[in-house]
Amino acid sequence: MIPDLAQEGAAVEKEWAPESQAPVVMFNNVGKTYGRYQAIGGISLALSGGVTGILGLNGAGKSTLFKLLMGKLQPTQGEVRLFGTNPWKNPAPYARVGYVPENENMHDWMTAFEFVSTFARLHGLTRDEAKSEAERVLEFVGLTDVMHKKIGRYSKGMRQRAKIAHALVNDPDLIILDEPLQGCDPLARTTIMNVIRELGRMGRTVLLSSHILSEIERITEQIVILHQGRLLAIGNLHAIREQLDNIPHTIEIECGDAKALARDVLSLEVVHGLQFPSSSKLKIFTHHLGEFHQRLPKIIVDNEHDVMAINNPDDDLQSILKYLTGGVR
């Protein structure tokens, strides 16, 4: 009963223990409605280990799924389990979870070091432990140089990394990142992607959401696609892509000489049609998007084409969704 006023040395582990057989994350027929609006409905999903990308358009229910998992929302139906525990009822599993919310508001008046170390103490760490832990995770996300600056003066990418650092305290087994790349500059994007990949390599279960397929693609192959609050697909991104190859894709290339490029591109057997919207634009139709993208760079480089932009109007989430939902293209 004696308060630990000095707060030095090491703390002792907690009494809560995860259920050994339970998956890290489990949704059983989970639904969440706000009044008459159904945010998600009837989702069943179990995940353990690896990096999983949750893909979906804005409003598909990605954040709702994470907030249910973090006990911030109460499911209207079904059950949510985090390490076998109901997170709405018991906050104990958060000792092993790191959560990076989508919300952009932060405690701007704190330095990243203060932010991370203060919240680290909520894991029951002493001041000493919290400080060294904060230094460790801030180094991991590459903020050591600026960690004593106020968060209010950080760029978007630095803020995002500070949030990630805060989530990595206490070395969690599950890390949940809600749109971690949104609004970040390319450099921050690369850093954050590396951090996430590294976490995956360390054997952590990582869940991250995005509405941009190419982002997820650079991090993981294991994806879950949400659409209008429903689970649309789950599995390997390449397997889904394979199926996508059976339908025609459009690639639009802006270049100096569209006709010259068309001549070289036609030599690829995967190309089955061409169109010239203007003299500097070329539209290419293919059934084998992946293979085309593998061979295109060589053609451009070998023939010294002057390419300004390559747009895959179809190679986005929208087209996958269209395909998966049976929409005709």
Binding site: M1, I2, P3, D4, A6, Q7, E8, G9, A10, A11, V12, K14, E15, W16, K67, M70, G71, K72, L73, Q74, P91, A92, P93, Y94, A95, V97, G98, Y99, P101, N103, N105, M106, H107, W109, M110, T118, F119, R121, L122, H123, G124, L125, T126, A130, H166, A167
Partner: protein, 444 residues
């Protein structure tokens, strides 16, 4: 015991979380301008009242000739008081002490103002024999012995005070010309001093500071974080929401309580030195100041819990808090006039003020007699039933307004303990409801 062995219990890790959130909350308050504005305005308001008090203590209260014996009714150059002393006719200019043998020189009129002050001893007996005729206009007068003992108690030239428990008042039976011309300055300063302490304690600390500081600082304690979304960081950690509520409140108290301590101490010190009396410092008053501090600490705790709960309950919790503040103002005024009203039991301010009244009762046990003396005003107030308290001594009105009796029908110690327990229970109740609501709130 090594450092590592310390902190083995659930309590020690709880208190790590508690200090983390409390420190975080304190720092958050410190970075907000609104905190300093609210605390600054509170300090200014109290300081203005303090300045009025200092001004009052430094202003001589004009002496009044309560018995009117400094006048020369017959215009013979001898004031009535002197004529009375020598048994000459105050209405006959041909009868005055100058015609006596030997001849007496006229005395200045000022000698007959404030010439017979109170010298009453306090006792909690129901009947007290007290008073002394300082100027001798009873003892040495030509009155018959039966007239010198107007109250028929067998002792000439004294005063009998009879306490009427039913009406909680003193009946004053004075022999003629005893304590009939009290010192207004002496009485008024003491009355104003006590009225200041009780008034600023009750309305300044327990009402004004204890309601408005929590209103502005505690209503958003949880709600602001929920609205801005920063609560997400805290609720993502292994900590129950009830704990977050409680520890945030600790941070709030860590700002508000030292502030109250400083402001209260400042007033206690200034009034201790400035207050009337021969002593260097009025140490006894510290008892009342301490009770004011305790009452304000508990009131800010209860209101803090209540307003934080209202903030959790509804985004515009401050709108819910305003009618409560109005109710409490009504209760504050009610407790000063009708302290036994049962409505007060449904307030925070009523219980808090009981603590102050109890301390005042202990520190100033003569309060009832003192206010009775002010109303009596040497006998000149006694006849004023028709004219109200217009003839009462200066400071009486303020003191009568600021002080109130113990309303719980218990002794001062029991009243203090019961009131403190009730306030702590109120705080615990609001915390319990608040965290229950907080737990059921979805954080979007």
């Amino acid at each position: 015991m090594s450092k590592k062995e310390r902190g083995e219990t659930i309590w020690t890790s709880l208190d790590r979380k508690a200090t983390a959130i409390a420190e975080f909350t304190m720092r958050q308050y410190r970075t907000r301008l609104s905190t300093w504005v609210v605390l600054g305005v509170g300090f200014l308001a109290i300081s203005v009242v303090l300045l009025f008090y200092i001004e009052a203590m430094n202003t001589e209260i004009e002496a009044i000739d309560n018995d009117g014996d400094s006048e020369d009714s017959d215009g013979d150059g001898y004031v009535d008081g002197q004529e009375f002393k020598y048994g000459t006719d105050i209405l006959d200019s041909n009868s005055h002490p100058g015609l006596l043998d030997p001849s007496i020189e006229p005395e200045p009129a000022s000698m007959y103002i404030n010439e017979d002050d109170y010298d009453w001893d306090y006792s909690d007996a129901s009947m007290i024999t007290t008073g002394y005729d300082d100027d001798g206009d009873c003892r040495e007068s030509q009155l018959l012995p039966s007239a010198q003992d107007g109250n028929s108690d067998g002792t000439p030239c004294n005063i009998i005070l009879i306490y009427n428990a039913a009406t909680d008042t003193y009946l004053i039976y004075a022999d003629p010309n005893v304590d009939e011309d009290p010192d207004e300055d002496r009485y008024g300063k003491e009355a104003q001093h006590r009225a200041f302490i009780l008034g600023v304690g009750k309305l300044g600390f327990v009402f004004l500071l204890s309601i408005f500081i929590p209103l502005f600082l505690a209503t958003g304690l949880i709600r602001d974080e929920m609205t801005s979304g920063t609560m997400q960081y805290m609720t993502a950690k292994p900590i129950a929401r009830g704990e977050i509520f409680l520890y945030r409140m600790l941070g709030y108290l860590a700002i508000v309580w030292p502030y109250l301590l400083v402001v209260c101490s400042l007033l206690a010190i200034v009034s201790g030195f400035m207050g009337p009396g021969d002593q260097f410092f009025r140490f006894a008053d510290l008892g009342v100041w301490f009770s004011i501090l305790i009452a304000a600490l508990l009131a800010t705790l209860v209101y803090g819990m209540l307003f934080a709960f209202l903030g959790v309950l509804w985004k515009y919790g401050i709108i819910l808090a305003l009618p409560i503040a109005a109710w409490e103002l009504g209760m504050a005024l009610l407790s000063m006039s009708v302290p036994e009203s049962s409505f007060l039991r449904m307030s925070v301010v009523g219980w808090s003020m009981s603590i102050i009244d109890s301390a005042a009762y202990l520190v100033w046990p003569d309060m009832d007699m003192f206010t009775a003396a002010g109303a009596w005003a040497g006998g000149s107030g006694e006849t004023s039933i028709l004219f109200g308290t217009g003839n009462a001594l200066p400071g009486y009105g303020a003191l009568e307004w600021a002080q109130s009796d113990l309303g719980l029908g218990m002794g001062p110690y029991a009243t203090t303990i019961v009131s403190m327990v009730v306030l702590v229970c109120q705080a615990a109740f609001f915390w319990f409801i608040g965290q229950l609501i907080f737990k059921s709130k979805e954080i979007v």
